[in-house]
Assembly symmetry: C2
Homo-oligomer: 471 residues x 2
């Protein structure tokens, strides 16, 4: 049971070395440890034994060199917004808080790229880009750090058009387990020069190295933007609209599904007054003519599936309100059941299986509502085939926890059986390790273990995450 | 000097085992070995000791298991069109010819993906897709196999719009050094489930595993296509047109530079009658209105840089002729100097440095033309910042070879000093290993070596490629 916190004290030599080096920026205070021991998942908190507040790549390297010498686990901490227990100190150890590495190092508008320290959040980068005519599109719900987003291969509402962190990171600075500083990638738009270490680090969840700096692609702000809301007689009708839109190749920028329950939660939390029916939020980017063309085409497709008229958010402030509401869906959902914790699923399937996967999942949601209700709104980046069921469970009710976990397991296996994945964008972390072999097979996991062993022979980097425990 | 062919016989036990298993599909005939010992680079041929003609993943696995037991090198062979000596048997060993693995396993039009065996070529896949409304965009000059294209992280003329093999491979079947069969990735459009083994294998040039099957993304055939040719008063004027087009965010499908010498070679080889001036070939994809909008915008940009009127290739057969001519540029160039071999460079730089990089390179071309001329046309996928200088050298003139190699080295270092790469799409192979440390640094190469050691501890997979020899 490596998910239990092995409470233990750090080696005194390590404490001494880190104290000398970091002074008050090395802390074993309980409040500090507790703050760094929980994320936004439903996993119970597991605090680290100490926290280092690093301010540079070199300080991260020094910390790792020390911890490696003492065989002490190290966990990176950005904004604490992970959704699968990524930052929990399951084996104790030292948490490195990277939020002070928050400088935008360079914005090169002419090359449409930017280099940032890992602690810069997506909103901060976009504020910084104000006036350049460029933006950074990846937008998970939280205002996460770019380092954390790279580490979990995050995406969000714009991925259907602009890709995920996989497509948008050009290069990185990564501190390895033994403190060596690795540079990956470069600024060329493409390269065939050697193994793709950038993509190996993206999605490695702090288990192969700590990302301290990254160069990301930027995109031109579209000349015209149009956002619309459309409601449907059923969730399957909405999903079929999505499928057809993707299949005819409309370059939609955003296409988000929310079921009636999710809309009801939004209305309450965000003071919106949307019809509480299965709903798609759309956004279209392009030239005015292209946006016009896209919207006409998609409105026609929606109509053939029983969609009502598009309800337009034309003013920028209305658009911002709409998308902020969408980003707040997780927090809005929590309002449906006071005191609940949210267990969010994250499957992603090929678009041809999406309607079937959602229909089976809706039936399963109905089945877990007894003996006590588990409200479970559905939201999703359905243009990618990705959707979330947000299961609201009473953390003090073991039966609800069991029902929710069994549901999540069935859903993950359903997606995998449809050639999909257990996680489209949240990552494996603690909670999805058991799905990795069913999804990728034993050989793939053996290869992942071999790579982990080669790069982190002492297993100090975020131990207990991603890779399933050997049986 | 591991670039010399260590001629040696294979272990008799290995020969016996492969003969029993493969019969006449195991060959040590000289003609067969010679055929499999050369590619389209300027490197002298180095034949393997034997060739296995495999017909399935399981046969590849059986061959690797045998060769690994005997510590014998293994080299994958697709169409023999690599450009950096990738398939040369620098340490002898067994070549596995994969061209018989040429089935299209599945085309899933509704998901816009296809699964193919590694020996399927890009043209065969596109013929197969005829009538589906979909196409596969990646197009290196040669009609290469998709397995080989994945192994070298290939791209081509469409990459500026559709990405490279990095973005277009969803998953793979890969045989590991010891014969285990690895499945990577899946069919979901995005996933955060574990290390990105797909991207690790893409571009690994047969040094980490042999790709036997791959699932690739397909794209909707554009509703409208327009191709045009535009000539410019100088190559820098043409490049500045490219830079501005990219920076304003026009989604051009293709944007290819050819200098006057390259055009002259094309006219002779392809019987075209293009003006022999610095030229851009454009292609625009989209709805009729969007194509109209793009072409108007780009024609205006070209005009401000002194570009002449666009010369349109409107009929499909004219378009095909234009792009076939572009794809034949390497063979056309060879016509400029009978008996020559072509050394093709492949740098790629951030777009803001492209004009400067090309201008310095043109000056350098002028400098290497004495005492004997080395005709050196320039062609390039300049929308990506990628261009090739095709140096036509007399293989019997050591002075020309030295001048050309020194030029290529200067060009690679020039690109690296501009935050670019020594290879945008050809790969490292034999010829670019010395640039890997200057480009990525010692730590990155140590990490690559650690991964290689973890996955291929006996160093049997395409030894002597990618990784520089330890000093």
């Amino acid at each position: 049971m490596d998910t239990q916190h092995h409470s233990r004290n750090l080696p005194q030599g390590l404490v001494d070395e880190l104290t000398v080096r970091f002074g008050s920026r090395f802390s074993v205070a309980e409040a500090v440890r507790l703050h760094h021991g929980k994320d936004e998942s439903s996993h119970p908190p597991m605090p680290p034994d100490a926290v280092v507040f690093a301010e540079s790549t070199e300080e991260v390297a020094a910390t790792l060199m020390c911890c490696n010498a003492y065989r002490t686990p190290v966990i990176a901490y950005g904004t604490g917004t992970s959704l699968e227990g990524h930052i929990l100190a399951v084996q104790g150890g030292v948490c490195i808080d990277l939020s002070a590495l928050n400088n935008v190092v360079a914005v090169r508008a002419e090359d449409m790229d930017a280099t940032v320290q890992c602690g810069v959040t997506r909103k901060k980068l976009n504020e910084w880009l104000n006036g350049t005519g460029l933006f950074f599109p990846i937008d998970p719900g939280a205002d996460a750090s770019l380092g954390g987003m790279a580490a979990t291969r995050a995406s969000g509402t714009n991925a259907v058009r602009y890709g995920t962190m996989r497509e948008n990171v050009l290069g990185m600075t990564v501190v390895l387990a033994d403190g060596r500083i690795l540079k990956t990638g470069g600024r060329a738009r493409k390269s065939s020069a050697g193994y793709d270490l950038t993509r190996l680090m993206v999605g490695s969840e702090g288990t192969l190295g700590l990302i301290t700096e990254l160069t990301v692609r930027l995109h031109p702000l579209p000349e015209a933007i149009a956002s619309a809301v459309c409601t449907f007689p059923s969730i399957v009708a909405a999903v079929n609209t999505v499928i057809q839109t993707i299949q005819v190749g409309v370059p939609v920028a955003r296409m988000e599904l929310l079921d009636a329950l999710a809309i009801s939660a939004l209305n309450r939390y965000s003071k919106t007054s949307l019809r509480e029916e299965p709903t798609l939020f759309f956004e279209f980017h392009g030239s005015p003519a292209s946006v016009q063309e896209q919207t006409t085409l998609v409105a026609d497709i929606a109509k053939t599936h029983g969609g009502k008229d598009f309800d337009w958010a034309t003013r920028p402030e209305d658009r911002s309100r709409l998308w902020q509401a969408r980003h707040d869906a997780l927090w809005a959902a929590l309002g449906l059941k006071p005191g609940a914790r949210a267990l969010s699923t994250d499957v992603c399937v090929p678009i041809s299986r999406l309607a079937e996967c959602i229909a089976e999942t809706i039936a399963d949601i109905a089945a877990i509502n007894l003996p006590s209700p588990i409200p479970s709104p559905i939201v999703g980046h359905v243009g990618d085939g990705n959707f979330h069921v947000v299961l609201l469970i009473d953390p003090n009710n073991p039966d609800e926890i069991t029902r929710a976990h069994d549901f999540a397991t069935r859903l993950a296996h359903r997606a995998i059986s449809m050639d999909g994945t257990s996680t489209g964008e949240h990552g494996i972390g603690l909670g999805k390790r058991d799905y990795l072999i069913p999804e990728h097979g034993v050989v793939a996991i053996d290869v992942m273990r071999a790579i982990k062993q080669a790069l982190d022979p002492n297993n100090i980097l975020n131990p207990g995450k991603i890779l399933p425990s050997p049986k």
